[in-house]
Amino acid sequence: MRGPLSRADMARRAAQDIPEGAYVNLGIGLPTMISDYLPPDREIILHTENGMLGMGPVAVGDQIDPDLINAGKIPVTELPGAAYFHHADSFAMMRGGHLDICVLGAFQVSITGDLANWHTGGEGAIPAVGGAMDLAIGAKEVFVIMELFTRDGSCKLVPECTFPLTGIGCVGTVYTDYAVFTIASDGVTVVEAFGGLGVQDLEKSTGLSLRG
C-alpha cells in the first residue's frame, strides 16, 4: 500500500523542513536520502555518530578512504570545516541536546510520540540497537520518515507501539508517503496531505483521530 509520494519525494519533503544553520543527524536508510535534497542555499552541518561533523556526500572512486565512513559504514567525504571526535564526544553532542534535528526510520510511531525502530522482537531475531536509542532521546527535534503502511497494509502510526520501544514520547514530526504529521500533547495533526487526500480520508485509512 504505497501512498502518493515516492521515497525520493518523501526525502525531498523532509529536507524542506531542515533550516539554515541546523546541526543534523540522518539515520541509516531512507533518512540518509534526505542529504541529496537539502536546499543548496542553506548551510546545514551533518553529524555522523561515528565521530564527525561536516560530513560530505558519499565518496566515489579515488575519494574512497576506509578510515572515513558514515554510520552505515559507507565511505563518505569531508567538507571544509569538518571535525573529528571520539565516540563519547559524539554521543555527548547527541544526549546533551546539542544536535538540532535527527531523522530516523521507524517500524512504528505511537500517537504520543513513542518510537519503535530497533528490534522486531521476533523469534530468532538478533537484536541490534546501535545509536538508535541515543538519537531518539538526544536531539532537540526528532523527525521520523517512513511509509505510513507496511506491505501488508498495517498502519505504522499506531495508538500504542507493539514492537519493543526505542524511546518514549520523543517523535515530533512524521514524514510519510501520504501526509506529514506532527505529534504534540493535544494529539496528532495533519500538517500536509498528499494526492488530494483530506483529514477524513486519513482518519479512515489509519483508524486514528486526527486534527486538521
Partner: protein, 230 residues
Amino acid sequence: MISKIIGSVAEAIADVRDGSTVMIGGFGSAGQPVELIDALLEQGAKDLTVVNNNAGNGTTGLAALLQARRVRKIICSFPRQVDSQVFDGLYRAGELELELVPQGTLAERIRAGGAGIAGFFTPTGYGTMLADGKETRRIDGRDYVLESALSADFALIKAHRGDRLGNLVYRKTARNFGPLMVGAASVAIAQVASIVEVGELDPESVVTPGIYVQRVVEVSSHTPPSTQGQ
C-alpha cells in the same frame, strides 16, 4: 628512558590470559586493529569477554576470533550486520553470550571506566527493554537509567601515529572508540601505522596522551595481515 615501543604484535599481546576482558577498537572496519586481533587469534587465549561496537564482519579480524570459539561473551551495540554471519550463527546456537548496549551508553561506560566514575544516570534507553532491571531515577523532571562503568584487562586499538611515550593521533573516523578504550584498560596496546620521534607530534594535536597507553607497536599498512603475529 621510557619506551613503550614493542617489536611485534605477537609480543604486544603475549600476556593476554584465558578469561581476560579485551576491549577492541573500531566501528566496522574503520579503526579495527586487525593485526593485533590476528595475533591474539594466533596466541590462543580463550574464554575472552570482548567489548567492541560490533560483533565482527566477514570472516576476518574479530569474526575470526569468534569463529575460533575464543570468545565467551561480547558486549556491543550493533552485532547484526549484512556480513555478521559468524556472530549470527554462534548467537543462535547459544554459544556466545551477548550484552547489548546502546552505542552512546557503551561509549560512556568505557569513558567512565577510565575516568574513575563508577556509574552514571543517562536518559538513553529509559522505558525500553534495555533498561529492564536497572535502577532508574527522576532528576529535575526527567527519567534516567543507572549504567555502570566498563573496564578491561587489555585494550587493542588502532591509531595513525604514535611515539615512544604512547602519545597518539588518529585518522578521520577511525578514531571512534580508541581514545576511550585506552583509558579503561589495565594494559592499552596501540597499533600505529608509523612511530615518530618524541616531539614530532604537535602537543596541541595529540588526541591520546601517552599516560593512557602501555604499548605501541608499528604495523605497516603495506604488510598483509596474515603475515603479522608470527
